[in-house]
């Protein structure tokens, strides 16, 4: 112990001396060393921003592009800690998505133009440059980088932060890095990934000696997972052919697991010993591609301690009980049939009383809880409101919550079921809104689907994937750019690594893609959601990015169900969405250029998506519905008439 500690101290002193050039304190902890080198690298990033500000003034495109890449690479050296320290600041000013957004928490709607490296990447690598705008953006970037430098120096970095930040960076590399998400035009994704991976390796090196002393196998495994990643990045430099499945399976997932073991093994506290707030991430999960990765209870009003099988069963019963609807003929399952991946196979679901259709396509309920907001237009901020909207909609249940509560209380059996689930005396029990909400939450929360062949493969379980599926994963996460909106591992618009925000996109979907000429679907989407704070023009025709998990079962596709086949959907994307079929929306967020995918590549992507199917243990339906005193109601059909 003594010898190794000494060696370590000597090493760390050397490291510090090399980096900082001043006499180190008597004893520096790894987190202190990491912080010192972080601040030096942050200084280096600030210098590259200064350099960029100067270079863009020359309007020399070659030098400007080189200078931007230099700044981007320098950012990737610090991204892992910068974004951990201030995710909001990073997204607002340094490396946020190149899309306009709304100013937070102000009593009016103010559109903020995108700022930072991503929008600069687009502007500088475009065919033509708007130099004035580039100069303005560069100058702001430099100013903000300096500002953050003065704030980050105060961050009281400790070991827990370091391990959480390293693991968050793994998620970022997987979902935003290798996919090319934040390098839309420069294509600098793989070199940047090397910087990102190297940055967390350098940080981890500060713990290697202790780790090795305490568990040499663990230390060796970590070293080997890092080296596997570096080897791949060194040998496979072509963005289109980089083997992302191998990278995720051999480097990202193993490190995500091993670094957690490392953290706990070193006695470093867990998130849960420090923080009281709920978080979308389950910080105790060893795996990324599993239903353990995100904390389902964060996304609902239900607590883990309340989540009993009894309550889940009541939720399931409610889901299949048409008594909730005005005409006692329609249930949630009417549009969300377990046999069809909890959709109904129709472009738009049949409305109540068979009177036309509802306005949009029925989305799957599998993994539905993993959202910040519900519905294609994000109008409901939680599951309770989501169900209320369905109850209230004149085209769906055409009733209201009070009527439903009153109705359910007419059934002694329902009252007994609820009373038992909430450990209360049945004789004096009245079902209320909260009971109904929690039962629905318990059931919907149980519909988690993360055990597909792809999940099993990445977790290192004994399953093989066909070459087509493997290639499909690589295309989806790379050349085809699907993964830059359908983020792994949910493959939906829930944005990593925070998983606390849903994206909507403007694609330019046609009313009927099989008609020519194409006419844009008139549905205005998010701008007309009724959320007065979101009536921004860039939300016109904007719709939530759904999950592609279980997509094999959930045809037809898009918010209007206009596309019958996945091939048709893929062809639509391949030609640049609406822009490629003659629909020109000024605010289309999908890149309008062609993806250049061959037919075989499209088939591979579909094969991959079809390998994301998992409904095991999720499709059972109740055997009977509770009895009502009003015997007319007792003839109702499980799941409703349609």
């Amino acid at each position: 112990m003594f010898r190794i500690v000494l060696t370590f101290a000597a090493l760390s002193c050397l490291y510090v001396l090399m980096l900082v050039g001043f006499k180190p304190a008597e004893k520096l902890y790894p987190s202190q060393i990491i912080k010192q080198s972080y601040l030096l690298q942050l200084d280096a990033f600030v210098s590259t921003c200064q350099e960029l500000e100067v270079t863009v003034k020359t309007e020399n495109i070659v030098n400007t592009r080189a200078s931007l890449l230099k700044a981007r690479n320098a950012y990737k050296d610090i991204e892992w800690l910068f974004e951990y320290v201030d995710q909001q600041g990073a997204r607002d000013f340094i490396n946020g998505a190149p899309l306009p957004k709304l100013e937070r928490k102000v009593p009016e709607m103010v559109v903020l133009d995108p700022k930072g490296l991503q929008v600069l990447d687009e502007a500088i690598f475009a065919d033509e440059q708007d130099w004035k705008s580039i100069q303005k953006l560069s100058s702001l970037l430099n100013k903000k980088a300096n500002e953050f430098r003065s704030i980050h120096k105060l961050y009281p970095l400790n070991d827990r932060h370091v391990f959480e930040a390293m693991r968050a960076e793994l998620i970022r590399i997987m979902s935003l890095g290798i996919t090319g998400f934040d390098t839309p035009l420069s294509g600098n994704a793989l070199p940047e990934t090397s910087h990102s991976l190297q940055s967390i390796y350098n940080a981890w090196k500060n713990y290697q000696v202790q780790t090795n002393e305490l568990n040499s196998d663990l230390s060796a495994s970590i070293e080997s997972a890092f080296q596997s990643g570096f080897n791949q990045l060194e040998n496979e430099t072509n963005f289109d052919t980089f083997n992302r499945l191998a990278f995720v399976t051999n480097t990202i997932q193993p490190l995500y697991d091993l670094l957690l073991q490392n953290q706990f093994g070193l006695g470093i506290e867990s998130y849960y010993e420090v923080e009281k707030q709920g978080n979308p991430i389950n910080f105790a999960s060893q795996t990324i591609f599993s239903d353990d990765f995100l904390n389902p209870y964060y996304f609902t009003g239900l607590q883990a301690s309340q989540h009993t099988n009894e309550l889940t069963d009541i939720g399931k019963t409610l889901f299949f009980d048409p008594v909730l609807s005005r005409n006692n003929q329609r249930s949630c399952a009417s549009c969300h049939d377990p046999k069809k991946g909890f959709t109904d196979g129709k472009a738009k679901s049949i409305a109540i009383d068979f009177n036309g259709t509802v306005d949009r396509n029925s989305p799957t309920v599998l993994n539905a809880i993993y959202v910040d907001r519900f519905f294609h237009d994000l109008r409901a901020s939680n599951l309770d409101l989501q169900t209320e909207h369905v109850f209230f909609s004149p085209k769906e249940f055409d009733t209201d919550l009070m009527t439903i509560i009153h109705k359910l209380n007419q059934s002694k059996e329902y009252q007994q079921l609820f009373a038992s689930a909430f450990n209360q005396e049945a004789s004096s029990f009245t079902i209320n809104k909260r009971h109904i909400n929690l039962a629905f939450a318990a059931y919907v929360l149980s519909l988690r689907s993360f055990n597909s062949p792809v999940d099993q493969y990445i977790r290192g379980e004994e399953v093989s994937l066909s070459a087509s599926v493997e290639n499909g994963f690589n295309l989806f996460m790379g050349k085809a750019a699907c993964g830059t909106c359908h983020f792994a591992p949910t493959f939906s618009g829930l944005v990593p690594p925070g998983f606390d925000e849903n994206e909507t996109e403007v694609l330019g979907v046609a009313v009927n893609p099989y008609d020519t000429p194409s006419v844009v679907d008139p549905d205005a989407g998010r701008i007309a959601s009724g959320t007065i704070k979101e009536e921004a023009s860039f939300y016109n025709h904007s719709f939530k990015t759904p999950t592609v998990r279980n997509i094999e079962l959930t045809a037809p596709y898009m918010h209007n169900g206009a596309y019958n086949e996945l091939e048709d959907v893929m062809n639509f994307y391949n030609v640049g969405g609406g822009a490629g079929i003659g629909i020109h929306l000024e605010n289309q967020t999908l890149p309008t250029d062609s993806l250049g995918l061959s037919d075989i590549e499209i088939q591979d992507i579909i094969a991959f998506m079809n390998a994301l199917t998992d409904t095991s243990g999720l499709t059972s339906i109740p055997q009977q519905l509770p009895v009502f005193e009003d015997t007319k109601l007792n003839n109702r059909k499980i799941g409703g008439e349609y």
Binding site: A9, P107, V209, L214, Y298, F299, R434, G530, E535
Partner: protein, 624 residues
């Protein structure tokens, strides 16, 4: 995989590496007698302050009146609680009426479209110092506990009921309609999507007793929004929209002790500071309206408020008239101690572009913004000017002078001398709700300012760094302190995760009410809904002196590590900033905090614990 994980844990768990700043996962507590309360034992008594949920949005039933086609009935209350107004009952032993705003615009057949308010009456149960909701029957025959204020049948729908006014004189209540509406389309949204707001957007014919050309005038529906609206909390009805105070995105205001003068705040950038003076005390249907211009000889410039067109287009008068511009004025309150008026200027990251046009028109920046911008090497209307943290302003009605009373922050980019070692433990960012709480300590009156945070974001050091802190906080400030700083704030409550703390108001010498708005839906019921909460027991807490951290300061010079119970908030304090770990009675680590001077332990159940500091010193901790 799982197996390896477990074994790694077992092998490594106990032996914390010397080179990490880690506390042992377990400690040996066998040498401690858990029944023996040694002198070094820290006892954290139960706080005398009790928290009680009074009103749960989306759950409690409100009694409603006839709306078109929908008869009297009851339905679940709206959410998004904001302002709380309190009207004392002078004629019975009940405490009085509580009025709660709902900051939203939503269609509702029973309650009425738009936002709204809920009122209820409370009394104190002296036997256990709890608050009870009083059953009432109103003049319109509604009976129950919670009542929806009828706007639709009286003054027209209201929207985004945000702040308001509780008269310092007699508890009259006004609700403020924030979120300035500029078209009918922005009120009414697609009903079929389920996200409807205000469905009736036909032109509105004003029916009003206010002096001027208001009565009988016809306005577009949206022009009947964004007023201060008086209600009668006793009967749960609206009284009048205050057309003569102008149409603005109002947030706060104060009725002065003369019962004539009203100061008004607008949540906008720029915001003008407004004053109304009634002709006759207590009658606000007639009087004069002014805007503040700090650089004018008279300071107050009158607006002709008898003209509807003037009142609809206030900004066309105030800013070209040279009004002084503020950055989002929120709540306004009157201090009996100082006789001055305070308001929160909540701040906005980059206000520059928002008030540039008005400056060209002739408006002037408030002097503190000019000075701040100059210190940042820029001007107030430049996009470089940042105003992240906000502040509390003080206005002296006797001199018409304004000054910054309490600056939010700390402003890290302006204070290069801040280091980790002197990193401040308290941050005040984006103050919003503001009111006063008056009590006494052994007969000596004391007045506290209540400051509610509503964070605009988490970046730029707005929340303490190093923790996953997204929680708005509720602070008290002793008004006897001259020139207070953020360090003088006493933190009294943190609301559930994701929530904005708002509406806090002292209703008597023992009770503070506050709202927890838009909490995260993952909180446990009822904390996943908007709530009105009562904090009682203040008299005892004040008498014990447990609110004041001075006891820590007294021994701050002591070299020994000291832990102080703070009974008021179930928070322990240390005489030095340190790392600590808390172990349960079996020696298992349950909590770790780093670089802290205060530690909240209210989530730990009563029992015996052990506390270890960074130097490895262990102390027994009893939580009662």
């Amino acid at each position: 995989m799982k197996k390896l994980y477990t074994s790694a844990f077992a092998v490594l768990g106990f032996a914390a590496a010397a080179n990490c700043q880690s506390f042992p996962v377990e400690i040996d507590v066998t040498s401690w007698d858990t029944n023996d309360w040694k002198p070094e034992t820290i006892v954290v008594p139960q706080s005398p302050i009790k928290s009680q949920v009074l009103f749960i949005g989306g759950t409690d039933m409100v009694q409603t009146v006839d709306q078109t086609g929908t008869p009297n009935g009851a339905t679940v209350a709206k959410q998004w609680h904001d302002f709380i107004g309190f009207t004392a009952d002078e004629n019975s032993s009940d405490l009085g009426w509580v009025s709660v705003n709902h900051e939203m615009i939503q269609a509702n057949d029973n309650i009425g479209d738009g936002g709204g308010m809920t009122v209820f009456k409370i009394r104190r149960n002296a036997t256990n110092d709890s608050i009870e909701i009083v059953d009432q029957t109103l003049a319109d025959n509604r009976s129950g506990k919670f009542f929806n204020v009828d706007f639709v049948n009286t003054v027209g729908e209201t929207g985004m009921n945000c702040g308001g006014i509780q008269s310092t004189v007699d508890g009259r209540i006004w609700t403020a309609e924030e979120w300035f509406r500029s078209s009918n389309a922005s009120l009414a949204t697609d009903f079929t999507t389920g996200g409807a707001g205000v469905r009736d957007t036909a032109d509105w014919t004003i029916s009003s007793d206010i002096t001027g050309d208001f009565n009988g005038s016809v306005v577009s529906k949206y022009e009947n929004f964004n007023y201060m609206v008086e209600i009668d909390p006793r009967e749960a009805v609206a009284v009048r929209k205050q057309y003569n105070w102008g149409r603005q995105g109002f947030e706060g205001g104060v009725v002065m002790p003369d019962n004539k003068t009203v100061y008004l705040g607008v949540d906008a950038t720029p915001a003008a500071w407004l004053k109304f003076v009634a002709d006759n005390a207590g009658d606000f249907t007639s009087g004069s309206l002014y805007f503040y211009k700090h650089d004018a000889a008279t300071k107050w410039i009158e607006i002709d408020n008898s003209q509807l067109s003037n009142m609809l287009n206030m900004n066309d008068i105030t800013f070209p008239g040279g009004a002084t511009m503020y950055n989002r004025i929120e709540w306004v309150a009157y201090s009996q101690t100082s006789g001055k008026i305070y308001f929160t200027e909540t701040g906005r990251d980059t206000p520059g572009s928002r008030w540039r046009d008005e400056k060209v028109e002739g408006a002037v920046h408030a002097p503190h913004h000019v000075a701040r911008a100059a210190a940042q090497g820029t001007s107030a209307d430049s996009s470089d000017y940042v105003d992240y943290y906000g502040r509390v302003m003080e206005f002296d009605p006797s001199t018409d002078q304004m000054r910054v009373f309490l600056a939010g922050g700390p402003e890290f980019h302006d204070t290069p001398d801040v280091t980790i070692d002197n990193y401040p433990s308290k941050h005040l960012s984006n103050p919003d709700g503001l009111s006063f709480f008056r009590s006494d300590i052994d007969g000596t009156p004391i007045e506290f300012m209540i400051v509610n945070e509503d964070l605009n974001g988490s970046s730029h050091g707005r929340v303490p760094m190093g923790t996953d802190n997204r929680t708005c906080e509720l602070f008290l400030l002793d008004m006897n302190i001259e020139n207070p700083t953020v360090d003088n704030l006493i933190r009294i409550a943190a609301v559930p995760a994701g929530a904005e703390v708002t509406g806090a108001v002292g209703i008597d010498d023992n009770t503070i009410l506050f709202n927890s708005q838009h909490p995260s839906s993952d909180n446990q019921f009822p904390y996943n809904n908007s709530l009105t909460v009562a904090l009682t027991g203040w008299k005892q807490a004040l008498a014990e002196g447990s609110l004041f951290p001075t006891s820590v300061e007294e021994v701050a010079n002591s070299n020994a590590f000291r832990v102080y119970p703070n009974p008021a908030s179930r928070e322990i304090q240390f005489n030095t900033t340190t790392d600590v770990a808390i172990y349960d009675a079996t020696g298992a680590r349950v909590k770790v905090a780093r670089n802290v001077k205060y530690l909240q332990i209210e989530d730990l159940s009563a029992g015996v614990y052990f506390l270890q500091n960074a130097e490895g010193e262990t102390t027994k901790l009893i939580i009662e």
